[in-house]
Subunit: 209 residues, 2 copies
């Protein structure tokens, strides 16, 4: 019934470690989130994120027992590629992936919190801009920021977006937002945990594209 | 010494058929052309084109003897996927790939012909715009066209672009352009032949993204 609830993230254990296999499973459904944005323009974003996931999975399947959690992967790469790390392999892919995940997180949270432009209540521009500013803007040079401004014109109406999240079914807005809130519980904890890991391991970079 | 001449396209036989294996070999070096544009913004374009090539190669390797020329692939897919064709498989990938190839063709030809903005002789904006208009614009909706306008700001200076084409070596401009002209001979014939094939087989689509 709901794109999001069909593919829930699991609750994290007390040590906040993220199980690689379960993470890859849950996250592999997220690129279709970008189809909910309606325009083919976002196909490019979808491919970029799919590429990140493919890269992480490629490392994982080489040795599932060694790479039980995401942190195992990042630490192993720090050993193996000391010179280039963290701008390398699955560490780099996850660095960018988490920003796309944070974008989705902030966008959904902002919708769930009822933030909107009172003059244009059926637009999600304010929510998308907030998500962009918190998740991505600082990693984008001015040209990509301009590209974002152009792409913003392709953002869907709020009603269409919520309908797409409900897989095209006519669900009451409040029910859809309740699903979003439910989804966000474990999802946000997971995304936050990955950010925390990057801080702790000193794996974060702030170069721009 | 020259990015282009290291990976020449071969002369076509009189029937203008394009040998799949040789085409894939020559074309696989072209995505690095986008590195010559200097900005990381074009990495996205490079991935899109790489995706097209990967898709065509994936079909070819299934049965190299059956798919000797590009036309064999397109015709086989017309048989196999009558309902969706030509918006399917390697036919679709080559449809888009040829537009990227035409973009490169027109851009290089325009530089080789000495077309430039007399007021800004070290910019390649006029050449890039010409290439975009002839190869891609009509397949792009207004939002992607706006994105192009923004991306145009990332176009390199003429001198840097020519230097990158010469793999960073200091080559006289005239020598570099002579290489470009040499490269264009077989390259243009190949790209033109693919366009002709799409017209003849009625395989061209004009939907926009
Ligand atoms: C022909 C006409 C056009 C001409 C030119 C057009 C050029 C278009 C350029 C568009 C930029 C699109 C955004 C994509 C940006 C990407 O460049 C960045 C960095 O991408 C990362 O780069 C790394 C190397 O530095 C590795 O390759 C990573 O890959 S690796 O796996 O190999 O390690 C890769 O993800 N990802 C990002 O910024 C992530 C973006 C997430 C987006 C989230 C949603 C935004 C939705 C917006 C809604 C309004
Ligand atoms: C987060 C911030 C940003 C937010 C959002 C950003 C969104 C950015 C969108 C940027 C658009 C970039 C251009 C890419 C466009 C692509 O959409 C198109 C069609 O792409 C095709 O689509 C098909 C389905 O219709 C198949 O999937 C093809 O794939 S298949 O292989 O699967 O069949 C695929 O190539 N390719 C194109 O238009 C080709 C482009 C060639 C470009 C040539 C050079 C231009 C250089 C310009 C120099 C100034």
């Amino acid at each position: 019934m709901s794109l999001l609830l069909d593919n829930q993230f699991v609750e994290l254990p007390p040590d906040k470690s993220v199980d690689t296999k379960l993470f890859l499973e849950a996250v592999s459904h997220l690129p279709s989130f970008f189809d909910c944005l309606g325009s083919k323009v976002f196909g490019i974003i979808k491919s970029d994120i799919n590429g990140n996931i493919t890269k992480i999975r490629a490392v994982y399947v080489q040795d599932p027992e060694k790479y039980v959690t995401l942190q195992h992967i990042v630490e192993a790469e720090r050993e193996a590629h000391a010179a280039e790390w963290p701008k390398v392999g699955a560490t780099l892919a996850l660095m960018w992936l988490k920003r796309g995940l944070r974008f989705i997180q902030v966008l959904l949270q902002s919708l769930a919190d009822g933030e909107r432009d009172e003059n244009k209540p059926n637009l999600i521009r304010v929510n998308v801009i907030k998500a962009y500013e918190q998740a991505l803007k600082k990693y984008h040079g001015w040209i990509v920021q301009k590209i974002f401004d152009a792409a913003l014109h392709a953002a869907p109406y709020r009603s269409n977006f919520l309908k797409a999240l409900s897989k095209g079914e006519e669900v009451k807005e409040e029910d859809c937002l309740a699903n979003v809130r439910l989804f966000l519980v474990n999802y946000s904890t997971t995304v936050d945990a990955i950010y925390e890991m990057y801080t702790n391991l000193n794996a974060e970079l702030d170069y721009t594209v």
